[in-house]
């Protein structure tokens, strides 16, 4: 059986590394300059976008590259956020320790949930991650003495050499730094031996095992890595909002990340970026559109926004899976080849 989601083991862009590198530098320069020119709301939005992209990279490594479906990604983001909040509250750790710690905490807890089912194939991991989503959220809500339940925890701004990152713009640079590192790592890990093992497991795990890939080990690595990304994203979110509560990490957020991976294109790092951007912007457009329509016809649109978002997320997931399983990344490639035939990108 040939899977419809295929990724070349070595990305086709390898020979044109130079050009990709230049474009990346240009993009980073633009992003660095953004807060100088853009309004505050944009910067805030870019920060959220960055966090979402990091988390989506994580899910893409698990689901897109390795074929391990996780329905509990939001809960692991939550673990990261709570780790930062608690590490700061009780241990007074600075951000450069707290954020990696958040990643590690999420990875450890992720493995705790994933380990029993990673040994077995099939549906079990999906259900274990769903269990993680509900159990972790339960812990966030009900472990009152530590998490303060629904009230949540406040987080003090991170400080760099005594300089507090106390507004959107300052945290934005921290997020941008993490985003660049995370993306760089995601691109490169897939080119490595580890990445090839991930893809082999996704395509045909039994065959991979026969060929000598230690599938349980690599599944574990993929799962830990994906959860680590989620934890880092959660840690950044905690610094960004300066506030953590259980409501932020519900099932809807897990659906959000999953749809971002699918819409962007499973098994494509570019796809994870595009998907996260698309899915973050979409609710804004939906809200604007719905409010405009509601204003014209006099409906009470505000009350249906949340379900509308849920329905649209689901619809996009189903539509992309059926019609374009390689997602926006494929559409992007196709558009590029149409404009520059000489590039010879499939």
């Amino acid at each position: 059986m040939v899977s419809n989601v295929q990724t070349p083991a070595v990305p086709a862009s390898a020979p044109m590394f130079g050009r990709t590198f230049l474009w990346s530098c240009l993009l980073i320069a633009v992003l660095l300059a953004l807060p100088l020119v853009a309004p505050r709301y944009w910067v805030y939005f870019a920060g959220i976008l960055g966090i979402n992209i990091i988390a989506t990279h994580g899910l893409n490594i698990m689901t897109g590259y390795t074929g391990l479906l996780s329905l509990g990604h939001a809960a692991f983001v939550g673990v990261g956020a709570y780790t930062v909040a608690l590490a700061q509250l009780h241990l007074g750790l600075p951000f450069y320790i707290a954020i990696p710690l958040a990643g590690c905490a999420a990875a450890v807890i992720g493995i705790g949930f994933g380990l029993p089912s990673l040994r077995i194939r099939g549906l079990y991991l999906v259900i274990a991650t769903l269990a993680a989503q509900f159990i972790l959220n339960f812990v966030f809500v009900h472990w009152q003495s530590v998490t303060k339940g629904d009230v949540g925890l406040t987080v003090q701004p991170a400080t760099v050499f005594g300089f507090p990152l106390n507004n959107e713009t300052r945290v934005y640079y921290l997020i941008l730094f993490c985003l660049v590192v995370a993306t760089w790592f995601a691109v490169n890990v897939i080119r490595s031996r580890v990445g090839r093992a991930f893809i082999a497991i996704r395509e045909r795990d039994l065959t991979a095992e026969v060929l000598g890939v230690q599938i349980v080990w690599y599944k574990l690595v993929a799962f830990a890595l994906g959860s680590f990304y989620a934890g880092v994203a959660g840690g950044l979110l905690a610094y960004f909002n300066q506030f953590v509560n259980p409501e932020q990490f519900g099932l809807l957020l897990s659906v959000f990340f999953l749809s971002a991976v699918i819409v962007g294109g499973m098994g494509s790092t570019l796809g994870a970026v595009l998907g996260a951007i698309f899915m973050t912007l979409l609710p804004e457009f939906l809200r604007e559109g719905a409010l405009a329509v509601g204003g014209t016809f006099g409906f009470d649109i505000a009350s249906i926004l949340v379900p509308l978002r849920e329905a649209v997320f689901g619809l996009l997931m189903v539509a992309f899976l059926i019609l374009e399983p390689r997602g926006l990344a494929q559409l992007w490639k196709r558009a590029r080849t149409r404009f520059s035939r000489s590039d010879n990108v499939a």
């Binding site: 089912s117 269990a131 339960f138 659906v255 329905a311």
Partner: protein, 293 residues
């Protein structure tokens, strides 16, 4: 009342609630057997059916009997639409892609229901009498007991039907080996559509019962995610297993809720699932599948 009789009472209530779990789980298992599709949208299908019933019985005041008929017909139509539009194009695609599609469908249904009927609780007309049932000293709320009776009769009937009818034999043939089933003249696509109809019916009835015992909200579907643990415990390809597993999980939920506090009810099934994955992933009655490379 002493502790032991309280324990018995909670046990009885839990087992009674487990009847509905078995009914929902049956819908999942039947589809899984025929097409290796694990239907994560089952809870939402169930919730949607309850809303169909509400609309027919209350909004259009058709009465309870016609309401149930309309709800069943509506659910079957929705199930067939889902199967035809979303899952048939996915045939032969990787397993996790299919799971994601059903998960997406669940999300769509939740959203649509939220948009049409709103987030508030709705009261559906009482089908089940309230008068409690006494088993000796044990007191069981009337609705729960009657819902249990209905669920068990339907599950029992369906198990017998799948065992002895032609359609049931065709289903098992398709489950055992699709290609051979095709070559023996069984229309596997029709078998799959048929299993979706069964799932629609069990989902519809369990949805109406569930909405009767609790209330009707868009969260009804999420409650049914507990059923996943029933399916795992029973063994994913065991039709008979769901009944026993449903009872066990209903019982466990009720008893842990009593001993540790009601908030623990919601995660009991998930903790059980995790333990189960550690010990016996094939469930109580499932069989391990052997694959060729």
């Amino acid at each position: 009342m002493n502790t032991f009789s309280a324990f018995l009472e909670y046990s009885a209530v839990g087992i009674a609630a487990g009847g509905i779990y078995a009914l929902i789980a049956l819908g999942i298992v039947v589809i899984f057997k025929s097409s290796r599709t694990f239907n994560f949208a089952m809870g939402e299908m169930m919730m949607l059916s309850a809303y169909f019933f509400y609309t027919a019985a209350v909004t259009f005041s058709l009465g309870i009997f016609l309401g149930v008929v309309v709800a069943i017909v509506g659910s079957i139509a929705v199930a067939l639409l889902i199967e035809r539009l979303a899952l048939r194009p996915m045939m032969g695609r990787p397993f996790i892609a299919i799971v994601m599609v059903t998960f997406g469908i669940g999300s769509i249904i939740r959203g649509i229901v939220g948009m049409i009927w709103g987030p508030n609780d709705l009261q559906i007309p009482a089908i089940l009498a309230r008068t409690p049932v006494m088993l000796g000293d044990i007191f069981i709320p009337g609705k729960t007991a009657r819902a249990f009776a209905i669920a068990v009769v339907i599950v029992g009937g369906l198990i017998a039907f799948l065992r002895y009818s032609r359609a049931g034999i065709a289903l098992r043939a398709a489950a055992a080996d699709q290609i051979t089933a095709y070559s023996m003249g069984i229309d596997v696509r029709r078998v799959i559509a048929f299993t979706w109809i069964i799932a629609a019916i069990t989902g519809c009835i369990s949805g109406i019962l569930m909405a009767n015992v609790n209330t009707l909200t868009p969260h009804l579907g999420l409650v049914a995610l507990n059923v996943l643990s029933v399916v795992i415990l029973g063994g994913m390809n065991s039709i008979g297993g769901v009944l026993v597993a449903g009872f066990i999980i209903g019982w466990l939920e009720s008893v842990t809720g009593w001993m540790l506090g009601t908030e623990f009810r919601e995660i009991t099934p998930y903790i059980l699932v995790l333990l189960l994955l550690l010990v016996r992933p094939t469930g109580l009655f499932g069989t391990k599948e052997i694959e060729r490379i």
